[in-house]
Symmetry: C2
Subunit: 443 residues, 2 copies
Amino acid sequence: MKLKFKDVDGAIVAPPGFRTAGVFCDIKRLGTGKGSNKGQKRDLTLIVSDVPCAVAGMFTTNQICAAPVKVCVPRVAKGIAQAVVVNSGNANACTGKQGMKDALAMTRLVEKTLGIKDGYALVGSTGRIGVNLPMEQVNSGILATAPLLGSTVEHATHSAEAIMTSDTKPKQVAIEFKLGGKTVRLGGMCKGAGMIQPGMSATGARPAALPQGLHATMLAFITTDAAVEAKVLQAELREAVAHSFNRITVDGDMSTNDTVLVLANGLAGNPKFKVAGKDFEIFQAALTHVCLELAKKIVRDGEGVHRVVTVRVTGGKSLAEADAAARAVANSALVKTSWHGGDPNWGRIIDALGYSSATVVESQVDIGYSAPGSRKILWTLKRGQPTKATYKALCAAAAPEEFDLHIRLNLGEGAALMYAADLTEEYVEFNKGDVTDPATLGG
Amino acid sequence: MKLKFKDVDGAIVAPPGFRTAGVFCDIKRLGTGKGSNKGQKRDLTLIVSDVPCAVAGMFTTNQICAAPVKVCVPRVAKGIAQAVVVNSGNANACTGKQGMKDALAMTRLVEKTLGIKDGYALVGSTGRIGVNLPMEQVNSGILATAPLLGSTVEHATHSAEAIMTSDTKPKQVAIEFKLGGKTVRLGGMCKGAGMIQPGMSATGARPAALPQGLHATMLAFITTDAAVEAKVLQAELREAVAHSFNRITVDGDMSTNDTVLVLANGLAGNPKFKVAGKDFEIFQAALTHVCLELAKKIVRDGEGVHRVVTVRVTGGKSLAEADAAARAVANSALVKTSWHGGDPNWGRIIDALGYSSATVVESQVDIGYSAPGSRKILWTLKRGQPTKATYKALCAAAAPEEFDLHIRLNLGEGAALMYAADLTEEYVEFNKGDVTDPATLGG
């Protein structure tokens, strides 16, 4: 279902009944005492609903998963929550028993401070792996945030800033639409930048067929005043993530911490709905829209990213093969550097297709370029043969900051797309860091 | 079998009965008329034996494979050959029917010019994909090379230069050893640099279980005066490649053209041998030694490479799982940029292990560093927990231009290693090229 949604301000506090705030509590220093704080960026946020919410979540399928993910999975499975605490600067991943203690302590302090029920707080972390959280700072951060909670645009922006790591800007969206005769809002925020190729499932368990090479830390938090049962919400979120966050890649590295949470507080008073039916479809379209807007912001703001390319594969022998083909192209170092150079190099593209696990027949492959979303495609390869498109025209097609790359395998009905990024010197420069200043070293 | 071999000069013409020469015939200009020839580099070579040879070959398993590969596979299967013609500057890949015609025309002209039997010439190409060969230049190059053939060190070096693309130096090796009471020589040369993660098989057919993400153009040509039957030679080469060329990665991109050929002219007069037995093992050790020396030179001279890391995985649930774990680490953009920065970042390593298709249990993983080949390992992680190794000591362990990375999964008996490279700004700079000067655009 394709619907138009009205954009509104306020992101995660656009829906009534949600409050947030974001503070600086010195987590990003990493406890080394040597790091630069780069203007004392915010690094902790709370998101709180006035009333308990139905909750749904999707989590990294990395076998090495962080303590906050381990805490969230069983809580989300119960379907009810009221608050989320998130810190940046430290992923609380590979931190052993202490890491689990710390993640639980964060939720307990939030529950106590806000006066909500045991088990109703969720937690997220992002940043360096393998370092225990500086709990003194985290605790003081939680205590400092609680009295600041509010529902203005500024509150939302402070919260979106507090979850940033290498992101250059906060990423927010909110929409308004009609559902069951009521006006309903959906708001969201996210962070990304590097270690980005999520492959999330509802439990963190790996699906039987893993997408090839999943990977990065992305966190997304979505709120709504819609009344939705937790099971329905989970079904809608699974579908939305499959078409948004699980279709992006910056560097092909799947993080230990990838998390998407949705809280639905029901204050809009719309009639509850079941899986399937008109209201289900409207909410599905709205949630997918919000997730996709957030996911695209992650790619556009990826570390060192200059160009964003939507890789659209059709004609795969199966959906899984189309997915494998799209991921091989989207993660090829040579394809990504050619995008950076604005080089319409179909040789590297067909090379990547050929080594993917998808069936590819050279004499069947079409490759072309278009403006984002446009059906006016300039083909460079048709059935494995170069077309008469001029080099100048192809360079022009590969020059914009965003373009679509169309690949037709012409072997079946499988289709898949990936939102991908180029590979630049800045990505390398940023991620190599400086060992003499541990605060420059990324997650 | 571990044996010591005597290094000798002359590379591919070190064994008696082989001649070569390398010339410049202007293939690298790409027919655009605009390219810079950068000092008119050699771009065509012939390798010829005085007598017909037993031949063995391993070829890319990329489904998109170049015309020269398609020409070689059936000829190598017949087990007999006498010459090889190789050009750089143009891969003759994705060049359709004309590409097949051109590759066959190259072999026919070589056979005619050298007076050898029909079907006894093989062909290799490397360079830009998707552009037809400039056959006028290629033909004049073959005719110019024939009268120059010789067996000096200089001849060998000219030949090794002629197969280079983005390589910064020629890559050659030759050894001498005793086999069946005779003195025997094995010589080789290769090229690599980018699009390097070969996954070769004897027929180009893909194995049932593909290594994860194979990929680059590497060409290697090996000569010997040993008497070896073609079937035995093929068995030895398959094993040698499995432990050398198929274990390297620069950028994770498998080429359309990867080829290894071995010519054995039998002039040493050693008694022929069968699969298994002492002579088989001696020759196996020698061939693997030559392949491994060449393979390591490819990684060290990879595009923009500053550091070479040998990733040694043990304790995998199976050999395939250990291989998947080693490749995930060796191809992770974040791990490779951390190597470039000299950052002993085990978080990125365990993250890559966690998203690989190998089974990984956080509380079982050991990660450590050593000097190349050393058993003195500085462990940074033991059973999932950081050790007491100091940050300074770990930085020192990750600082050398070459080091070993030890990963113990502690779940089984599966072991695998990969020779890997860091990811640098120079790699990106080189591969993005300059669209205003097509001659700068790589394969």
